[in-house]
């Protein structure tokens, strides 16, 4: 867009003043991420100093009071919950978007889209509460105890589904009409058109959607905390309770002090690293496309 590299403003103190104050403001906004990283590191440093990074993965267990800091069960918890929910939510979300664009009669398409938008706006604590009072008892009837990896996966699925569905919906809306006309002219049936023409055209948009939903799944705290049981263990079935990295922070931060507190900041750093990796890969995929 416009640039200020030229000397246009040299006489125009108001313009210059404005520009420089905007720069100051933007610098604040731009440095928050840096501040977050710095503070996480500063708070995590003591334990990294005493314990070292390796022991977060090799210690026999997570007993911070006794100086044992094994994060792996929580990492697995996060990974299992994330993978399960992404695997279910992705096809459901994409099919939802396909429904809106190619299957639903237009009287249904609009309300259905609104419904997905509304789902996207429901706060996580409400999902968690519903999972706790409705879903967990149901699961307990099938296989006690109830709070479990399965409950976590299901709740996460409902939570991240709108993300991928809306993203896919936006991508499908951008498919050029002539592709569809061309396919119709060849006499291709509906699903064949979608699979053969539409999906390849929106691949990068769908991929961005998957990245976004994965980020949400990794970062979700409250709902997971409320339905997963929070036992520190590597689950052997999906009915076992688990504890995720995020839930661990939320649970123990209230009373953690010293190295224990620092260890929680280490898990915060781990979460942040995962997110940065995701953002970078998303950027890599959608390279050349505009911000937003």
């Amino acid at each position: 867009m416009t640039s200020l590299s030229n000397n246009t403003l040299s006489r125009w103190s108001t313009d210059e003043l404005l520009c420089w104050s905007l720069r100051g403001i933007a610098t604040i906004a731009g440095t928050i991420v840096m501040l977050i990283v710095v503070f996480l590191i500063v708070e995590a440093l003591p334990v990294l100093h005493h314990v070292g990074l390796l022991r977060f993965f090799t210690d026999p267990s997570w007993h911070p009071a006794e100086g044992l800091y094994n994060l792996t069960p929580m990492l697995w918890g996060t990974l299992f919950a994330m993978t399960g929910s992404v695997l279910i939510a992705t096809p459901l979300g994409i099919l939802s978007a396909v429904f809106c664009h190619y299957y639903a009669p237009s009287v249904l398409a609009r309300p259905y889209r609104r419904l997905i938008e509304l789902l996207a706006g429901v706060p996580s604590v409400v999902y968690g509460f519903w999972g706790l009072v409705v879903l967990v008892p149901l699961i307990a009837e099938i296989q006690p105890p109830g709070p479990s990896l399965l409950a976590g996966i299901l709740i996460l699925t409902i939570m991240i589904l709108p993300t991928i569905a809306l993203m896919a919906d936006a991508s499908l809306a951008n498919v050029p009409q002539q592709y569809l006309r061309g396919a119709a002219a060849l006499g291709l049936p509906r699903w064949a058109t979608i699979r053969g023409v539409v999906f390849p055209a929106v691949r990068s948009g769908l991929f961005t959607g998957v990245i976004l939903e994965t980020g949400r799944a990794i970062g979700e705290t409250m709902a997971i905390l409320m339905v997963c049981g929070n036992v520190v263990q590597i689950p052997s079935t999906i009915f076992d309770p688990i504890r995720t990295l995020t839930a661990n922070i939320a649970l123990e931060m209230a009373y953690a002090i010293g190295d224990h507190r620092a260890a929680l900041f280490v898990s915060g750093l781990v979460l942040l690293a995962m997110i940065v990796a995701l953002v970078v890969s998303a950027e890599w995929v959608s390279r050349g496309r505009m911000y937003g």
Binding site: M1, T2, L4, S5, W12, D15, L18, C19, S21, I25, A26, T27, I28, A29, G30, T31, I32, V33, L35, I36, F39, L40, V42, L95, Y102, Y103, Y112, I116, E117, L118, G121, V122, P123, S124, V125, V126, F129, L132, L161, A165, L180, A184, P189, R190, A192, I194, G219, T221, M226, T246, I249, M253, L264, G268, L271, I275, V276, V279, E283, Y291
Partner: protein, 287 residues
């Protein structure tokens, strides 16, 4: 839109047909179940007294008056800080930097990352920075400031989009008339960008109201009526969390609070889509 008339002809088409309708049906059913459950159990308990009375017996009885007050204060602090910073940054990114400039690229990139940072990490940061380092303690101020950091990316993104939706010819013709950039910004661009700004504002408010994890360790749990911004105050979402997890027998009030929260968010959501579909176009086309 592909032709919706033709019936599926072979097995694969039938299968796809069933799957697509099945997925849509499933999503709708779950949504209705969730919303229906909350409305069904919550509606009987919502009343004026519930909205204004203080909670009693750890929240099992009584209402949510002080909690609504704390929530609005937290939201107020959040907006008071994030709006000027957000609008300023958006103006700079959209109007005063080129897409290629280093400063713009770095700022955008860090905002992208900020948008993805999990809320619990914001909580950690807020606790370390605002509560401990700046010495604000567990307070409404700390909570609001933490939320401000969180909603900034959303706010900036849609405000910037609002500015980009303003036709380039406004800027050219203003410059050709010898108007300064400040004037152009204030009199022409800002009014035309208001819809985008409103969308950002409403989205930000939505995100802030829904937030729980970032507030647990910053604004705290205290459910008394706050007397100043330095008091700890319990947000509505934390109230629901606390009632359902830590207070046995708190479910009725948790349902009612959840209903209130959902109603607020649905209202916000409705405002956004109304603005996005009607507000944006009207504003730019005529005025």
């Amino acid at each position: 839109m592909a032709e919706t008339l033709s019936r599926p002809q072979n097995l694969r088409e039938w299968l796809a047909f069933v799957l697509v309708w099945g997925a849509a049906g499933l999503v709708t059913a779950v949504f209705c179940w969730l919303l229906g459950d909350i409305v069904w159990h919550g509606i009987g308990h919502v009343s004026w007294t519930f909205l204004t009375a203080p909670p009693e017996n750890a929240g099992r009885q009584g209402g949510i008056g002080p909690i609504l007050a704390s929530t609005s204060l937290i939201l107020g602090v959040c907006l008071a800080v994030s709006l000027p910073i957000g609008i300023g940054t958006a103006v700079l990114l959209a109007e005063f930097t080129s897409d290629q400039s280093l400063f713009g690229r770095i700022t955008r990139r860090s905002l992208d990352i900020l948008a993805g940072v999990p809320s619990i990490v914001f909580g950690l940061f807020g606790n370390a920075f605002f509560c401990k380092m700046l010495g604000l303690g567990f307070s409404i101020l700390s909570g609001g400031l933490t939320l401000a950091c969180m909603v900034l990316p959303v706010l900036i993104r849609s405000t910037e989009e609002g500015f980009r939706a303003v036709p380039a010819s406004y800027r050219l013709s203003a410059a050709a008339l010898g108007l300064s950039r400040t004037t152009t910004l204030i009199h022409l661009l800002l009014p035309a960008a208001v819809p985008g700004l409103l969308v950002g504002l409403v989205l930000g408010v939505g995100r802030a109201i829904a937030e729980t994890a970032a507030l647990i360790f910053t604004s705290g749990y205290v459910d008394r009526m706050p007397e100043s911004l330095l008091d700890s105050g319990r947000a509505l979402s934390i109230h629901i969390f606390d009632l359902s997890m830590n207070v046995s027998g708190g479910d009725t009030n948790a349902y009612a609070s959840a209903l209130i929260l959902v109603i607020m968010l649905l209202a916000i959501n409705g405002t956004v889509s109304w603005l996005a579909t009607y507000g944006l176009h009207r504003k730019i086309m005529t005025v």
